[in-house]
């Protein structure tokens, strides 16, 4: 049981951290660019929300299986298949939660408006420096929202894990699927205990994040 919890936490934390980093350039581009086809890209990035998780999981399975074009590229590195592995699950989770990172971060950047970056430019900051010292701090609410959403979304992830996980202990066995198994095999007592633990833990994490955000808003930097 502890294994399962640890795998779930590891997955949620890593997915959150990686997505915060990887979604940011895309969110920045969407917030700042003015090309007409930008919303097409935005819609593509939001697709994982619309697809049923099992459908998404199915296509991910095809992508991670040995016969997929992506695996062809990785074969020289000695990787045959990413299905049923923790890294594969990590990739799947990141795709699944991508919109929950891109959207809030984009909103954070858009809420800032153009002025802070203009001010930074008139104060000699290069665009890269301005991004890190002005844009990111100004949009920190967006980052926090993204972190909360991605973490919670990954902990609750079920359909995708079901499809590409394979239930390998210590690797791809997560709480949501374990709960499902317990209910399916009529072990209700254990299921109740696991669900309660999950709820309490998630509640504490979310509450902590919200309180941190509130404090960040009130404290003068």
């Amino acid at each position: 049981m502890a294994d399962v919890i640890w795998t779930t936490l590891k997955l949620a934390s890593l997915t959150t951290l990686l997505l915060l980093v990887l979604a940011t350039p895309l969110a920045w581009w969407l917030a700042r660019q003015k090309v007409w086809w930008k919303e097409i890209i935005a819609a593509l990035a939001a697709l994982p929300i619309v697809l049923p998780p099992t459908v998404l999981g199915f296509y991910l399975l095809l992508l991670l299986a040995p016969s997929s074009p992506m695996m062809e590229l990785l074969r020289p590195f000695g990787i045959q298949s990413l299905a049923f592995t923790f890294p594969g699950l990590l990739i799947g989770s990141m795709v699944y939660s991508l919109p929950f990172a891109v959207q809030p971060i984009r909103n954070g950047f858009e809420a800032m408006g153009d002025r802070p970056m203009e001010v930074a430019a008139t104060l000699r900051a290069t665009p890269l420096n301005a991004f890190f010292t002005v844009a990111v701090p100004q949009a920190r609410r967006g980052f926090l929202t993204a972190a909360v959403l991605v973490f919670a979304h990954t902990v609750g992830e079920f359909g995708v894990v079901l499809m590409i996980g394979g239930g390998i202990p210590g690797q791809t066995e997560v709480i949501s699927v374990k709960l499902y198994q317990l209910v399916e095999s009529l072990q209700f007592g254990e299921a109740h205990r696991l669900a309660a633990g999950l709820l309490v833990f998630s509640f504490v994490v979310l509450l902590t994040m919200f309180l941190t955000e509130r404090r960040a808003r009130k404290t003068a930097p």
Partner: protein, 254 residues
């Protein structure tokens, strides 16, 4: 006040469209003194200011003190131009303290540091504000911080976009003496956009009137002399120009 004096001033020419609005100007800003840019709202004053700064890109030419900021296809990005800008809404960076706002440009500028906190803080009366956050500052205080911040970035040109127009009468009255003091000590050119005749009368050495994207009049002194305000004749000329251009001068002006 010690400082490097500029020889050349600013030459700026633009001819371009911003939406449906056409800006066509050829402007020289003398190397010393405050040049006021006046005109009715919608005349293009802010657009011209932003074009000189490089924040808005218009076809044209900008020479600063002999150095090219924009010419033909060459365009020096804003962060490489030694300019300081004060916006109408102060636009302080609210994730930083007052002190960090002030030092933002100072820390990044590669120009020789001729102006430091020690000079700017007393000049603008910022002592009580150092150590505070940007929350709860009055409008006048915010603009003084914005001004100090711009000056500390070691600019060779200061651009001010109606810095007092979003302040109430009391704040405006409070801050004008600081601007006058600054006027006496600054040795870099200042381009000051305003639609208020009193500000212009108290601060300007030179005046450029803009209407519908074109310059309709200029008023220049041979040598700027902040200690002797514009004469009554000059004020009258200014008022006439302004009326012809459609702005109403402040009846309380000298």
């Amino acid at each position: 006040m010690s400082g490097v004096t500029n020889q050349g001033g600013v030459q700026a020419e633009f001819d371009g469209l911003l939406g449906r609005f056409r800006l066509k100007v050829s402007l020289t800003i003398p190397p010393k003194g405050i040049t006021a840019l006046v005109g009715p709202s919608g005349a293009g004053k802010t657009s011209l200011l932003r074009a000189i700064a490089g924040l808005t890109r218009l076809p044209g030419r900008v020479l600063m003190d002999g150095a090219v900021w924009q010419e033909g296809r060459r365009f020096v990005p804003v962060h490489k131009r030694a300019l300081g800008m004060v916006f109408q809404e102060s636009s302080l960076l609210n994730h930083l303290s007052v002190k960090d706002n002030l030092l933002f440009g100072y820390r990044r500028s590669t120009e020789p540091k001729t102006m430091g906190l020690d000079e700017i803080v007393p000049l603008l009366g910022l002592e009580p504000l150092i150590g505070r956050s940007t929350d709860n500052l009055s409008g006048g205080e915010r603009q003084r911080v914005a001004l100090g911040r711009a000056l500390l970035s070691q600019p060779r040109l200061l651009l001010m976009d109606e810095p007092l127009s979003s302040l109430d009468a009391e704040s405006r009255a409070e801050i004008l003496p600081f601007l006058e003091a600054l006027h006496r000590t600054l040795s870099i050119p200042v381009l000051y956009v305003s639609h208020d005749a009193e500000e212009v009368a108290r601060l300007a050495d030179h005046v450029v009137t803009l209407n519908a994207g074109q310059i309709v009049g200029t008023l220049q002194r041979a040598t700027p002399d902040p200690l002797s305000p514009l004469s009554a004749d000059q004020i009258r000329d200014l008022a006439r120009q302004a009326l012809e251009a459609g702005i109403k001068p402040n009846p309380a002006a000298r």
